[in-house]
């Protein structure tokens, strides 16, 4: 009896481990509540455009979904669009049902704001040819499905310059989420920004394997600080890394939205999204009847990405050089792919791009190496 029972427990523990492991990878926060569409108030009664938003995580007050919701509120206010949203929708779980329900309810445009919603969006779009679908960060399109994303690496690059200028130990920590090209691209752009102003400094990467686990992310940040890093950057949605920097008296660089309120002294700036730019563009196209399926990937020149206001600790000369680099994008002095312009070396010192060569968008979207001033490894099956 006892043996049998112990085996049962072992199985339960194993199952729990697997569950925890799976949840850890993608949207662990997206598994708890059943999403119900939340209808928000509409400004006027006349026949308006109706737009629905499908979010992967709770809105909260920082991070990816919060940044999209700011965009939703913007188009509701400025264009009088009636909007609705469902948050905390599990990828590959409830997503298809939620998207389908919005389509059935007659929403004109449906925004799905997580990479994992890609297939569900395409599937539902086939059944509702008159509804417009916009999927964020994916690559599949259709007659009535467009995609949109921002060139966040440009803002990452600028924030890296700030970090490179502010470090005294020449060790900058980066709390990284999950090793996919988007995260790797962000790290490399940041490191190239560091290198631009401070060729001596190195970027130390620690992977947490989480998108939102404040406990682990804080530990990861503290581990980096213990090793002498005096500026901490991050990729995850939680502000835990910022808080760790604040507690330990070092600097930090935030992500997604302005994270200064979580670390008023530590926070130097954040690389932030401003989705209202893209949402406004799409809504205007739909209103004018000129909408067509596009793959939008806009950068800092259009204002989709940018930097949060600087901490007072950032000196004037640093602000100036960052602003100069920013103007290069706006004036078209550099290609959109900048800073991914040669010479670029990988960690082994191999020349990846020769002087003056520009990386293609395809290369950016499949990036799987670190540039030469990054310390750390990319966990991958092939290594």
């Amino acid at each position: 009896m006892k043996g049998k029972f112990l085996v049962l427990i072992a199985l339960a523990v194993l199952a729990a481990g697997l569950l925890a492991g799976c949840a850890g990878e993608e949207g662990k926060q997206a598994t708890t509540t059943t999403p119900t569409p939340v209808k928000t108030t509409t400004a006027e009664g006349k026949k308006e455009l109706k737009a629905a938003f499908v979010y992967v995580s709770p809105i909260g007050d920082a991070g990816w979904t919060y940044s999209h919701d700011l965009g939703r509120q913007y188009i509701e206010k400025v264009y009088g669009v009636e909007t609705a949203f469902a948050d905390n929708v599990a990828e590959g779980g409830d997503d298809e049902r939620v998207i389908r329900e919005f389509a059935e309810q007659g929403y004109d445009v449906i925004f799905t704001t997580s990479f994992g919603f890609m297939d569900a969006t395409i599937t539902v779009a086939e059944d509702f040819p008159d509804t417009i679908f916009e999927h964020c960060s994916g690559y599949k399109t259709a007659e009535n499905v467009g995609t949109y994303f921002g060139r966040m690496y440009q803002a990452r690059y600028l924030s890296g310059m700030v970090a490179g200028a502010m470090t005294e130990t020449n060790k900058i920590g980066y709390v990284a989420a999950v090793p996919i090209p988007e995260v790797i691209r962000g790290i490399n752009a940041f490191a190239l920004g560091v290198k631009k102003v401070n060729p001596e400094a190195k970027v130390y990467v620690v992977w947490t394997g989480t998108w939102y686990d404040p406990g682990d992310e804080k530990d990861a940040a503290i581990s980096l600080i213990d090793e002498g890093c005096d500026v901490i950057a991050q990729h995850q949605d939680s502000p835990a890394a910022q808080q760790a920097a604040e507690e330990r008296g070092v600097y930090s660089i935030g992500y997604h939205t302005d994270m200064s309120k979580f670390a008023p002294n530590a926070h130097l700036t954040s690389a932030v999204w401003n989705w209202s730019v893209i949402y406004s563009y799409i809504i205007e196209q739909v209103m004018q009847g000129t909408w067509k399926s596009e793959q939008i990937w806009w950068g800092i020149d259009k204002g989709v990405v940018g930097l949060a206001p600087f901490n007072d600790a950032v000196p004037e000369d640093v602000r100036k050089i960052v602003e100069e680099e920013k103007q290069k994008y706006i004036n078209g002095e550099v290609p959109e792919q900048y800073p991914f312009v040669g010479p670029i070396y990988d960690q082994q010192g191999n020349l990846v791009k020769a002087e003056g060569e520009v990386m293609t968008d395809e290369e950016l979207l499949s990036m799987s190496f670190f540039v030469d001033n990054v310390v750390g490894e990319i966990p991958a099956a092939s290594k």
Partner: protein, 310 residues
Amino acid sequence: MLDVGFVSSLLASSIRAGTPLLYATLGETLTERSGILNLGVEGIMITGAFTGFAVSVLTGNPWLGVLFAGFAGMALAFIHAFFSVTLKANQPITGLMIVLLGLGITGFFGRSYIGEVAVYINPIHIPHLSTLPYLGEILFTHDPLAYIAVILAAVLWFLLFKTRYGLEIIATGENPEAADSVGVDVDRVRYICTLMGGFLVGIGGAYLSLAYAKLWTEGMTAGRGWISLALVIFSGWMPQRAVLGAYLFGGLDVLSFKLQAIGVGIPYHFMKMVPYVVTIVVLLFSVIRKRAAFGAPAALGIPYVRGKKE
């Protein structure tokens, strides 16, 4: 690079990361010792994390938060006890229900508290002792709850193995018929152990939101409840071993970050898997060796009905 400083800061971090696990493991150990298997630890922990945070926000007193987190844990544990002890229901199923209930309730009510700032429980540097080289950092720079956890482990050990009450609890978990026959109120013991266990698990949750991560967010336990269930087995239902186990499991988590920070590339997937693998190995070992010291309480998970043999 693997110097003494690295090791001492690793050990200090292990204690921080292990403390929420320790509370949950002690609570579940007490519960299971009485023969009740409560798989709802994850749900109770997240409820404690939320309640502690919310009460601290509302009252400005984190210790009141800790207390109410314990009560909230008790409330969920009561549901489990009612189903398991009074209704003799299937314990694993009720436990899993508690997990979903806890995650759901806190997700719903917790929404408005995301991003709020509470009053937190901060580390105290014990005068003189904390300035000792290395040892000071490892042992004497923690918050009061971390010390209380160790004291609780000792108290629980004493209670279980050195007192008459402990004997009654263990007897109830091993052989409820025998306990009943000598006048132990089996249902009462099981209720008390499940409720007190829930109290401790709830505090473990509050530690996460008030002392460790210092913020509240939905689902922030991130599987720590499940790790604690594994820890109970790992520690062989012994509170004193739970201390080492919790710090070890907490340390493994931190170790992967620390190794990465000094440039040793160990895939984080591997480190996240280790606690479960270690538990299964310990379990296999205990089944093979058939050592009583490693064994689960014999009546664990089996409803007790007087006069009815299993």
